[in-house]
Symmetry: C2
Subunit: 320 residues, 2 copies
């Protein structure tokens, strides 16, 4: 049995795949998954947490794998009725998925924290893993585009990531407190490793890292910090990352992502197809590790998780 505690930082789809693998390789008490909440928003008066939902549904094995979001065996009659009532229907809300948002909103309105709500939803979905929002305070990602600065879901869903990106704002982040258990894990002598899942570094991981105190605690921790590249062969598996990087004037390679995490991570995991980038990454002072990072099957998710967990051990840390 492996000892020690692991933290995994994750956004939605790509991150959730590795989070699922980790949850199969580690005992529930050994893993805490911290979810980005910068994508959260209010829609039709409901509190929607897309990354938490994708993680919950993935861990509960009810996610719609093909689609990349939402639930299996979903139906769309609520949305059809909303459309016939003249409501905006740019954000897809399935009939089953809606139950999560309605319950979450009701519980939040009754004064529970997003952490408590998430814990409750996970328990009811049969998710044993510890899944936490990065903070219980509102942090909202806005995307600076050439024409205007817009909320993340407007950029990502309503505008289908079409506008040209020049930067990001995480509104509310200066006042936000990292979720207490998240801080506790970061401070724990039992922390064995931190795994940054293959999520978008700008909109999924940076909100976590920019929460007050988090970067300092990570840097002070003896536990190795490992990031898995969300790019393979210069392309994002999912989402607008490659397009964003080009618009931000960066070479669209895994090396750019490693450079983004420079000064924070100890090791960067790239796909076999990007093995030739290892030298560039090492030149940044970051150890490079090469393995298959594409995760189509559950076996591949577990295999990548095992690879990363073994890396943590080989890199050493306070508990080694």
């Amino acid at each position: 049995m492996r000892a020690g505690h692991y933290l995994a930082f994750s956004g939605g789809v790509g991150g959730a795949k590795l989070a699922l693998g980790l949850s199969r390789s580690l005992a529930p008490e050994q893993l805490t998954i911290i979810a980005n909440t910068g994508d959260d928003f209010q829609h039709f008066g409901l509190h929607i947490s897309p990354d938490l939902d994708t993680l919950m549904y993935t861990l509960a094995n009810v996610s719609n794998i093909e689609q990349g979001w939402g639930q299996q065996r979903e139906t769309w009659n609520f949305l059809a009725a909303m459309e016939s009532l003249g409501a905006d229907t740019w954000f897809q809300l399935g009939d089953r998925d809606l139950a999560t948002h309605v319950l979450r909103t009701q519980w939040l309105q009754s004064g529970r924290s997003l952490s408590e709500v998430t814990k409750q939803l996970c328990a009811r979905l049969g998710v044993a893993a510890n899944l936490l929002p990065m903070t219980d305070d509102p942090v909202r990602t806005w995307v600076c585009c050439t024409e205007e600065t817009i909320p993340f879901q407007h950029y990502f869903v309503k505008r289908r990531s079409q506008p040209e990106v020049s930067g990001f704002q995480f509104r509310g982040i200066e006042q936000a407190r990292p979720q207490p258990r998240f801080l506790e894990c970061l401070n724990s002598a039992n922390l064995k490793g931190v795994i940054i899942c293959p999520s978008n570094p700008f909109v999924s991981v940076d909100p976590l890292l920019q929460l007050p105190g988090v970067r300092e605690l990570l840097q002070a921790s003896a536990a190795p910090i490992i990031a898995v590249s969300p790019l393979v062969g210069g392309r994002a598996i999912k989402g607008p990352l490659a397009k964003m990087m080009a618009e931000l004037g960066m070479p669209v390679t895994a090396t750019s992502v490693a450079r983004h995490y420079r000064g924070l991570i100890d090791c960067f995991v790239v796909d076999e197809g990007d093995a030739t980038l290892a030298g560039q990454i090492e030149d940044l002072g970051i150890q490079a590790a090469v393995t298959r990072t594409i995760m189509h099957s559950l076996e591949e998710r577990v295999a990548l998780a095992e690879f990363v967990i073994d890396l943590v051990s080989s890199l050493g840390g306070v508990n080694q």
Copy 2:
């Protein structure tokens, strides 16, 4: 073309049938339908107005006729997901129906009145009739049962009208103001007639009548007031009325309903099957009228509406 303005008071299913008939017999500007809102309640943080919804759906021709509530072609995946999340599912919320509650709740939270919300929903559903909640203020019907006093929907849906009834409370009614346009109609010299639809007198009609000022304005009005019996042959077409009357110690007959409205109504319409009660009703000082009141088809709804409109004319009033 008939002249003058008509007010119809209605609860849910039974009342909605006659309201639909009236809406087919009168021009939109000639009819204002006032809905009971005592049945309204909050469920999962959503504002649900069962009688307004039944009226809206009936007038929009999207109601589920067999079921008596909700919409046609309804699906239940939201509720199934709520159940798997461990939520209470005693109140049936269909996927399509939910759109109404979510939009209403969002609009109410943004500061619109229930009247404005209802007007907007009606417009979007293509309902030309003027449909108003009896008040924009919260009035909540509680049912006094032998054991405890419980909110109406708990009595009616959760407990399936099983508890024995001893009375009713309309909480908030002393502070509630009748909807302004409702008052305007009652005060108007153009008011030609008031029609109390075949709804439950205790829980659907009494809330309207007990709003401050309504009874006085009705008594002061020259317009005839006609009620249609919700009982036929001592049985309610729908709902717990007959059971309630027995528990309240009243003979379960149309005559008892007429007696309940004594001092207010000019004429009481009973079904052909209750023709023998006409004498008893006249003895109460209320004119009795006999026709077929069972409304299975649209034609029967229009026929009853025509009968009642003709009655208004024959009874006369300020505009005759």
